[in-house]
């Protein structure tokens, strides 16, 4: 039956083992890609004709921003799966996302601020893109605060999942904010259809960083998921085999 893979993904021991086996396949390519992209972005890529060397912040700012919304979307999808099919592993995956996403949302705002000072003339503007990204940070922080307000994991899962699912409306708002409203922020140059608006010496390190960050998220999520699954399974007999007694 074609759906057996889906059912197996609901099984904590199967997921724990699978996550353990998959982690290195995400972690090492992520390390290689990020190391390459750092070198190519800082050393190999030429200076921008308008922004000089200052534009190099983009090699971290745009991938961090991608992480911030991609992690949120993953969290919301996992939360929705957990709510609809009552799958514990899905709730565990959603809970694993929040801290990762919050960190990279902060990094996005910080690097944007550092880029904004020389290019926009200010560290901070209540610009649609900046404001919706700040709202994303508050969604992550609210999600984590809500979870910690419950002693019972199942109630924390349900309540936080509703918040995660409702908050996902902010994701398209972030993406389209630069198109819908007058924004200081530039329009997308990577996450768009058609030809990139950068030469390959800039575009390739950028893509490597996007891919590297995405794989890094995979490795982080799988590691945190194993921790969440162990905490939720309490004293299930399979745990004895994986932690050793």
């Amino acid at each position: 039956m074609a759906w057996t893979w889906f059912h197996r993904l609901g099984s904590p021991p199967y997921v724990y083992g699978l996550a353990a086996r998959l982690t290195p396949w995400f972690a090492w390519p992520a390390a290689a890609l990020i190391a390459y992209a750092l070198y190519a972005g800082l050393v190999v890529a030429p200076a921008d004709y308008q922004q000089g060397e200052g534009y190099r912040i983009i090699f971290l700012h745009a991938p961090s921003a991608w992480m911030s919304v991609m992690v949120y979307t993953t969290m919301a999808v996992a939360a929705a799966v957990g709510l609809i099919w009552r799958i514990k592993v899905a709730h565990a995956a959603a809970a694993s996302c929040a801290a990762i996403g919050a960190t990279f949302t902060f990094a996005t705002l910080f690097t944007g601020s550092m880029w904004g000072k020389p290019m926009w003339g200010t560290y901070w503007a209540w610009d649609p893109r900046v404001t919706s990204e700040l709202l994303l940070l508050f969604l992550y922080l609210g999600y984590m605060a809500l979870r910690s307000a419950f002693d019972d994991v199942q109630r924390a899962d349900r309540a936080s999942a509703v918040l995660a699912v409702v908050g996902v409306v902010n994701v398209p708002i972030i993406h389209y904010s630069v198109i819908w409203w007058n924004s200081l922020h530039q329009a997308p140059s990577v996450m768009k259809l058609g030809k990139p608006t950068m030469p390959p010496e800039m575009y390739i390190p950028m893509l490597a960083m996007f891919l590297g960050f995405t794989l890094l998220f995979g490795a982080l999520l799988l590691t945190r998921l194993r921790a969440e699954v162990l905490n939720r399974e309490r004293t299930a007999t399979w745990i004895r085999d994986v932690v050793g007694t």
């Binding site: 200052g54 190099r56 912040i57 990762i100 990094a107 490795a219 921790a227 932690v243």
Partner: protein, 61 residues
Amino acid sequence: MNDFFAMGGYAQYVWPSYAIVLASIVLNIYWARRSLARARIDARKRLAMNPPAPSAKGEPA
């Protein structure tokens, strides 16, 4: 080399950006590994307090 660190006059904006993002990566790796290590220690403690029930044959499982 000094030219590289000067970043064409943008050093004060470029390097803090790189520092914060790299710190985010390192911290996330540390936090993820620590949460798994703690979960494993906690699971061992729980299991030690709840030894497996003896099987029907009277042998430890």
